[in-house]
Symmetry: C2
Subunit: 161 residues, 2 copies
Amino acid sequence: MSRLDSFIRRMSAQRDCLNWSAGALNGVDGPVLELGLGNGRTYDHLRSLFPDREIFVFERRVNAHPDCIPDQAHLILGDIFETLTGFAARLPAGAALAHADIGSGDTELNRQMAVRLPELLAPMMTPGGLVFSDQPLSHDGWRPEPLPEGVPADRYFIYRT
Amino acid sequence: MSRLDSFIRRMSAQRDCLNWSAGALNGVDGPVLELGLGNGRTYDHLRSLFPDREIFVFERRVNAHPDCIPDQAHLILGDIFETLTGFAARLPAGAALAHADIGSGDTELNRQMAVRLPELLAPMMTPGGLVFSDQPLSHDGWRPEPLPEGVPADRYFIYRT
């Protein structure tokens, strides 16, 4: 499989999982947390799926398409390990969805993410919420969700909080 | 349609068109020209489709995955308007396929490309070869090819030389 094939599979898996989440969060209130804005494509998809929810985006440095940049109140700039910590107090009822597409080519950084991210996110999520990640995460209170049909295993990870 | 949807469509259209080209060039000899290496995904796909053809890549500055960088003999660095001109002499029998995924957000640059690229490429192509582009191109000797089934119109343009 070429890198082009593999990339299309990964993007499609992401899209299919996000689309599935819209139904899977029926009846679960709360905003959406997008960790990493990147080019803004996923953010654009999230706001099309969740037009009635607030979406807070955490990003170190914005480098997205101008149409895909949240307003200042919904864009939290800085190192997510620091900004997430301070943000928890602003979400007393918790978030419904956290989307963390933050894996990089840096294996050590990925390993740190996989350990620290669940600790940071867990107190910010509402019961019955969803955490999406391109890396496997582990937390006692989280239950892995089966992936939507057709999504290859190990491309995406979904947890119910 | 979100930007994520649109992006997946564009990548899939590109892949479907490239896959189609492998059969459509049966019996047409010649190397492949890749204008713009980018992240190297398309190059990786081209070499999986055409393992027995030389692939020459034209790029201003390499910023691709290390596994997707051609050897020095097949990587032509510089402004493609200059490097293509000089390269024609190295292909007396012409190229079978030229792939130009070079559209940018810069409308004026796209317009220049659409005018100058056919002039530069036409003398480098073998009769019966194919030119792929993400922008519409026009040249007297070129015939537009119908897009493979399922590829949305105006996402991709194919010409038989």
